[in-house]
Symmetry: C2
Subunit: 426 residues, 2 copies
């Protein structure tokens, strides 16, 4: 018994088996059975010969890309006004724009632009921040549902240190609105699910964190937030939370820092040894957002350390700290940033390789969603079909070289097909 | 009396008046008279009302972009193998590929791919390195002539410290081949002109430099080379040229470092105070190639210093140290690299602004070609027509914001028209 979600793709296949091993199979067979990968084969096994087969020719087939950190309402001002550091940038550019999403007409218009771009991109799964507005967050979820992408979307919580026009009135109100939003959306979608989203410690009182912790326990949903992004922010948190041993501890004391609670923290540029130790122990996911960390002059996260310690790490675009939604570009930026960190700051931490960047953008981030981001047997069938024929070259190239070049040179024109869980999106 | 090269473009016009002043004129009139700009006007002056007018609607019109440093034969391996530093990268990746251009069939195929990409890009003028092969360099010049771009192309000189398969046999042979090439190409083209191209000091004996100096005096052509790009290279030059006070002095002692000899030097990442002083005194142009300097982990040039001292500076893509031919991307990379330099290395040198990056990619580099890179009266009419309508946004944007966003988000799809000296290329 096989349905629409059982088929074979033939083509030039590339995927990560682990953080160091990139597998490339020229003219291989990738089998999807009921929406899950059965693996990649040089010859098609007998039991699959009756499945419908699509020959992708010389096109490449890779796992879908994972964006562990992106702000949907900031998509409108991507590529603009990045001459400030984080805290000033939030007050000057970000909060005024996010406040506009109280207007549902504006939210619909803006979020549709975001969703259209995400659909065309290489991203199949994403962790998305919305705004403090429950109804507008539901609008975003409705629109994302239609794309077929598998996303987690969070209504943002903020009850302090935020401008009057963009701040929830109390912890109680913030919690009440969050529960109301969850009651609306919890079982509403096939492709979209909610994620708890305290903006970051400076925006959330202890009372709010306590209430969110309760909501987390009640609804058993994952958590996303920001951690140790910028030097002034880290100093500020020290002042705000004198009882916390380090920034991450301020989440941990409310039970929202990994362990049984699936947690992704964006940035981790300035995480201390102790913070890193706790993240590793608790399996906290790191969303490495190199372009945002460059654009806002935050710095460069010690990715080599995180990889060597075999921590959970994936990539984030962090639009609008990052200027675009491309995770291919995030792979390039992860390599580039690590080279300058090595050259200018610390030659003990070797630059990130192409294989490692590809791993982070697929399997590394995919693990946040379950068995996602590879073509190993049993993984969710999220895939991209890539056409590099319009990027001509005079010499012969290996499949691995073609993939490397694609990461550096491609744009959305070169993505010819996209699947999530065995369903074709385009 | 007006010919084809006299016309008016109406649209949203942006251009640099100097390194700090970006002028934006919404729905302005840009007048081209006999291939030169007459300036930009809010209302069309009476004397131009009879010129043919093209209404570009809401499209933006900006000066053509200038690439002060690009290697045509390396275009084939852009986006590949950037996991080595400069000297190893040259020996492992670059020299083997450049050696293939001895084969004119390969050269034709590869250079056509390069030229097609350059034609579609935002670049209207470029300083281009070829290989050591005179005939293949002429093939490149023939192909570039057809694009309509205004380019300077150099046959490379190398007679030492290069692999046997890619090294000229003697200074005499190198000079003889260079003269033979110059005799062929000197007056052959409308759009292309030759530029003297000693690869860099490590590749050129004193005898070769002496002979090239003689050739320069005879043909009165400009000079391009590399300077202070990488730490190992700078150390190597010290050993190779004990008589030189600094790297640039090794060019200067042969009269190829600015002054009466128009000179552009790529990189200048590690230029000493004395070297910077001489560059300024002699008006040597700096080709700032931020992406290459990141990809090869060279470092980041002190661009703020060069801008503050009002030195001649423009941008280079340095393909294949850089992975693509886009000068818009080079503008972004100049800003990005300067932010990490500021954050990680030296907070006394402020990051580059959007206005400054745009200046370097247009007027700053354009000065190497004469009155080029602006729409001020008397400048060569090199222009681009840019369409950002396929980059939707929910909010109103100023023209300056649209330009900034275009620099970050656009690709070749968004370039709808291109002119050099008043001739339309597409």
């Amino acid at each position: 018994m096989t349905g629409d979600k059982s088929f074979v793709l033939k083509g030039d296949i590339c995927y990560s088996e682990d953080r160091n091993l990139l597998r490339t199979v020229e003219q291989g067979y990738l089998v999807c059975l009921e929406g899950k990968s059965e693996g990649v084969f040089k010859e098609l096994p007998e039991q699959f010969v009756n499945l419908p087969l699509t020959d992708c020719g010389d096109q490449m087939i890779i796992p879908g890309l994972i964006d562990l950190h992106i702000h949907a309402p900031q998509f409108s001002f991507r590529g603009l006004h990045m001459d400030l550091e984080l805290l000033d940038w939030l007050n000057t550019n970000t909060f005024p724009e996010e406040a506009r999403y109280k207007d549902l007409d504006y939210a619909k218009k803006a979020y549709q632009i975001f969703a259209d771009a995400m659909k065309k991109s290489g991203t199949t799964r994403a962790c998305i921040f919305a705004t403090i507005h429950g109804p507008a967050t539901e609008v975003l979820m409705d629109i994302m549902e239609e794309t077929g992408l598998k996303t987690m979307v969070g209504k943002v919580n903020m009850d302090r240190n935020s401008p009057e026009y963009y701040c929830e009135n109390s912890a109680a109100e913030s919690a009440r609105d969050t529960e109301a939003w969850l009651e609306h959306v919890m079982l509403k979608y096939t492709n979209v699910s909610p994620i708890l989203t305290p903006r970051f410690i400076p925006s959330c009182t202890d009372e709010l964190m306590e209430r969110l912790s309760g909501i987390q326990k009640k609804y058993r949903i994952p958590v996303q937030s920001h951690l140790s992004e910028n030097l002034s922010e880290v100093e500020w948190v020290k002042g705000l939370c004198p009882a916390s041993r380090f920034y991450g501890d301020a989440y941990d004391q409310f039970g929202m820092f990994g362990g049984k609670v699936k947690t992704v923290m964006a940035h981790c540029v300035y995480s201390s040894k102790t913070e890193i130790g706790l993240m590793k122990e608790r399996g906290v996911f790191i969303a490495h957002c190199p372009q945002s960390n460059i654009n806002l002059a935050s710095g460069v996260a010690p990715v080599r350390t995180y990889l060597e310690q075999e921590m959970n790490i994936g990539l984030g675009t962090d639009v609008a700290g990052g200027s675009g939604e491309s995770i291919f570009r995030a792979m390039v930026d992860a390599i580039s940033a690590s080279k300058l960190r090595w050259r200018l700051l610390d030659e003990s931490l070797k630059p990130v390789t192409v294989e490692e960047a590809f791993y982070m953008g697929t399997l590394g981030g995919g693990a946040f969603f379950g068995k996602v981001g590879s073509f190993l047997k049993g993984y969710e069938f999220d895939a991209l079909i890539l056409d590099d024929s319009s990027l001509p070259h005079p010499q012969a190239l290996s499949l691995k070289e073609r993939l490397e070049r694609f990461i550096y040179l491609s744009d959305d024109r070169h993505i010819k097909g996209k699947f999530t869980e065995g369903s074709r999106i385009f």
